[in-house]
Subunit: 323 residues, 2 copies
Amino acid sequence: MGYRPLSHAQAIRTGRVRAIAMVINSEEPDRHNPFLQDFLAGACEAASALDWTMTISTAKSEKDMLEVLGRLVEERKADGFILPRTEVNDVRVKYLRELKVPFILYGRTGYGQAQTQDDTSWFDISGETAIRKAVGRLVSFGHTRIGFVGSDPKFNYSHLRRDGYLEGLEAAALPADPKLIREGARTREEGAIEARALLRLKRPPTAIVFATDLAALGCYPVCTELGLHIGRDVSILGYDGIPECQYVSPGLTTFSVDSQRAGERLATMLIQQTRGEAPAGLRELSEAELIARESDGPPRLTSEQLAKKIQLLTDHNRGGNRL
Amino acid sequence: MGYRPLSHAQAIRTGRVRAIAMVINSEEPDRHNPFLQDFLAGACEAASALDWTMTISTAKSEKDMLEVLGRLVEERKADGFILPRTEVNDVRVKYLRELKVPFILYGRTGYGQAQTQDDTSWFDISGETAIRKAVGRLVSFGHTRIGFVGSDPKFNYSHLRRDGYLEGLEAAALPADPKLIREGARTREEGAIEARALLRLKRPPTAIVFATDLAALGCYPVCTELGLHIGRDVSILGYDGIPECQYVSPGLTTFSVDSQRAGERLATMLIQQTRGEAPAGLRELSEAELIARESDGPPRLTSEQLAKKIQLLTDHNRGGNRL
DNA sequence: TGGTTTTCCGAAACCGGTTTCGGCAACAAA
DNA sequence: TTTGTTGCCGAAACCGGTTTCGGAAAACCA
């Protein structure tokens, strides 16, 4: 008859407010995530379908993060949490586990640590599989010297994607040259720095796989600067599927991540968990989808020829160095 | 002593849940807003400072929007609402006004309607002032034929920005040519269509002001296609200050909007309103900041010369028309 | 038909706070 | 000293639901 009980009135008796929360870190250098809206749409829709709501908060630092989580728990503004961007050593996980509050991770955690008594639930997209495929794709094009630019090692995904790169090399029986592996590129600018470092090597890679699209986009001005044609002189692959990939020239080949579905699954699984399901049973690994564009292809030059071309152009431009 | 009352227990007596909500439309074609996180950071921070929280929800259609709002009101999940992207005829405003629920607009509403008994509170950034300045800037560069590409007329800001354009022309005593005014460009692709229409005129504009950066970015491939050098053959200005402006070449001159402060002010003013302050007193108009880059400058060609150049290149390319 | 069990339904207790109310002590004025 | 006023503090009522409990009615069985 159109009657809806006041949610806080039921909460007082049931102990559940029928709300999940997510705290996002607002200080990150690569925080301009165009997919936040998609993610929220997925999560909100899933929550709405079960008559739950979604609370959102932001934190400016690690300390602030725990404070915000603590406040939400103590005031009981939420019954569970979605933790995005899991880190290798994640303080949020430790904190919430201790408080015995339900939570779910977007991404896995504890890279390299024994998974003893691990009872966390998570949803993740297998970046390692995608990067392994990226290497396989480059190998099938004929590349034999392939570089990798990773993201910040504090994030768990950074290690997984590097592992995917190494697995790809191993599957193709190619040696892993430590010189070809760079880490810590989160922004366009950092991506540019690492790309430049790789291309200025004595034996540069003819293809580079980037852990994120943003870092890969940083490679574009570097290639212009070095007089290289992306997709022919150097092949580039990214990961994330940000919209910009299709607007740069040549279009960036990347792996597209379905953020909306991620939000949807995370919200659904978290609510299941608050209803008593075992966290360990609530885990899901999904795949990213290859979006082939024009930034990669068969190598036109060998590593040696590439080095010579770069050397030539660098010497030539020495006068007007624009950093 | 570290004690915090359960928020829903106080809510049952006080009738207030100390939460504000925002419902975002997830179906929009230009929904990939990189500033959502900044906006949320501002709003959440302001809310947190007053010990409030922020609830978020998404809606897929206008009908869905009212349903979601209704649910949040009836279950009393929020004490007030932030309504982003106000439309000329905004159903949300009518609905919430009728329900006597506090709300605040991000943007004004009711363009062209008499503001009788208008008791809404809002925060907005004066797009019309920015666009007027844009026209003034182009005039001072020496442009006399300036085009305008507006956004979807259902949004209030679209009309305001067009008015700003007209005011700018009037201030410079330039005639307003209806042929130079286009509307309805929300995406890059739509921006490209309108830009092409303007540049293919018999007497094309030597400068174009776009109501949004996204539409302005659509002009870039069109200029490449027509063989025009942005910033010299044609001047371009955008509005919004999306990060991509600085990565395209030449960099897009635009007006930067402080989304974080917008979120902060909106949340603060909304909470004041729920505490009893009169909505009509809670209004604020802010300004966008000019970010000058290389996409605009003195006209190198007259409109006639520009038309000739475009004609020439179009004829030349007729064989390999790439749409 | 009588006794027992099941079902149904309304009343009461409860959840954890806020707010009101009343009683008592302290203080000021006469 | 008595009376009136103020201040303080603990008890009780209340908010709007959910859950429990008990009694009456209905159904079942011998």
